[in-house]
Symmetry: C2
Subunit: 218 residues, 2 copies
DNA sequence: TCCTGTGAAATTCTTCACAGCC
DNA sequence: GGCTGTGAAGAATTTCACAGGA
């Protein structure tokens, strides 16, 4: 079979290009070059063209890309030509913040349910959505046909919640707990861990200094 | 100069290994093999060994690694053998959630300041930290010697905030706004965008289905 | 002339496979 | 026997450089 594999990095970059294009569109820029996109996304122009080439020819030689049109293409590639329903499990600070995050809706993500086990939290409203008890998880996922699960529970509960979400029919998970989940291969899981990103920063802060010293010695 | 470059992916994985090791330590497991770490981190055993090999020899042939000892090594590599001070700019939902996030402290990150421009937010307390007006940004960063900035302001203000943080002496930034910041090369910036992660999921949901269909046709 | 699309080259990253040590 | 550490092989990704079309 000749399904060429698309690098995950390409997908991430396409999403970044899309944000730049949206920004450019708002500024009234109707045509962009790969160099402009590259500039606005922190990559090389060749990289931009290669990434797009996986999916087709969207530009005009000698001219560039039509801003809005290219953005539509990218959004379709990313699956954003439709709305997606997601549930959040864990209505602590992070879960609540995500439930109220406006950025999701503008990209086509609708939060259709928020769950918790804490009786002090269940029943609260986050915007116009009521926090439900986890016991209603399966029912709501089935009713709303939610396909994405967002896990914002403590590490100790994450694995169990993941399994439950999958059993309830969710196909893709965004896991904010610091542990790697052990789930069937066909479930799509990505992890987000804030401390981890900070640790990448501190490594670079420390290591950058060392590199500079090494360079000066020679 | 012979400073071998460490892949960023290696750094991220080290942080993941560290979390697994902490988990294992709590369970009373004193010795782990590269296979165990790999299992708990979703990578291959060879990958674990290669990643560690960039920094030294931490294991014992025929035995494995001492859980706590290896974790200390990794924490030191990541720069976590000291405490780091960070400020958060933007005390909306996300900024507030991050300010209250317990996970930071346990990894050695201290939030020493939270800022906003909104008079309705300035003066509020998040835990025991008061939200200050952005006009006090420079002063507090200097006084607390904060080295890390976390940007949780709307996209339209992100670039300006980034520049201000850098001018005030911050060397590393975690940017939660959806736009790529344009800053001096020596500033370390990493972006976190929740919608982006969801878009990676949707791409895989859509594309996974297509791949399956293609496979079935042949 | 300008900028895209793309094979080919270069580079980076991962896996393999086994020597070395407990 | 078991598991680490590592050069060498292999795979994946990025960059280069230029052909091709507006």
């Amino acid at each position: 079979m000749k399904t060429l594999k698309i690098p995950e990095a390409t997908i991430m970059r396409l999403a970044v290009y899309s944000r730049y294009l949206e920004h450019a569109e708002k500024q009234g820029i109707t045509t962009v070059s790969s160099a402009a996109i590259a500039d606005g996304s922190g990559v090389s122009p060749a990289q931009v063209r290669k990434d797009l080439a996986y999916f087709g020819e969207f530009g005009t030689r000698g001219v560039g890309y039509r801003t809005g049109e290219l953005n539509s293409h990218i959004r379709r590639i990313l699956g954003l030509n439709r709305c997606w329903s997601a549930v959040i499990v864990g209505a602590g600070k992070l879960g609540s913040a995500l439930a109220l995050y406006e950025g999701f809706l503008s990209r086509g993500f609708r939060i259709v349910g928020v769950f918790d086990v804490d009786p002090g939290i269940v029943g609260k409203y986050l915007g116009d959505i009521e926090v439900l008890h986890v016991s209603q998880l399966e029912e709501l996922i089935a009713r709303e046909k939610a396909e994405i699960g967002i896990i914002t529970v403590p590490a100790s509960a994450a694995q169990e919640v993941g399994e439950r979400l999958v059993k309830a029919g969710v196909r893709a998970l965004l896991n904010f707990s610091p542990l790697v989940l052990n789930l069937p291969e066909d479930v799509i899981v990505r992890n987000v861990d804030f401390s981890l990103y900070l640790e990448v920063l501190t490594f670079n802060l420390v290591f950058g200094k060392i590199k500079k010293e090494v360079a000066e010695e020679e």
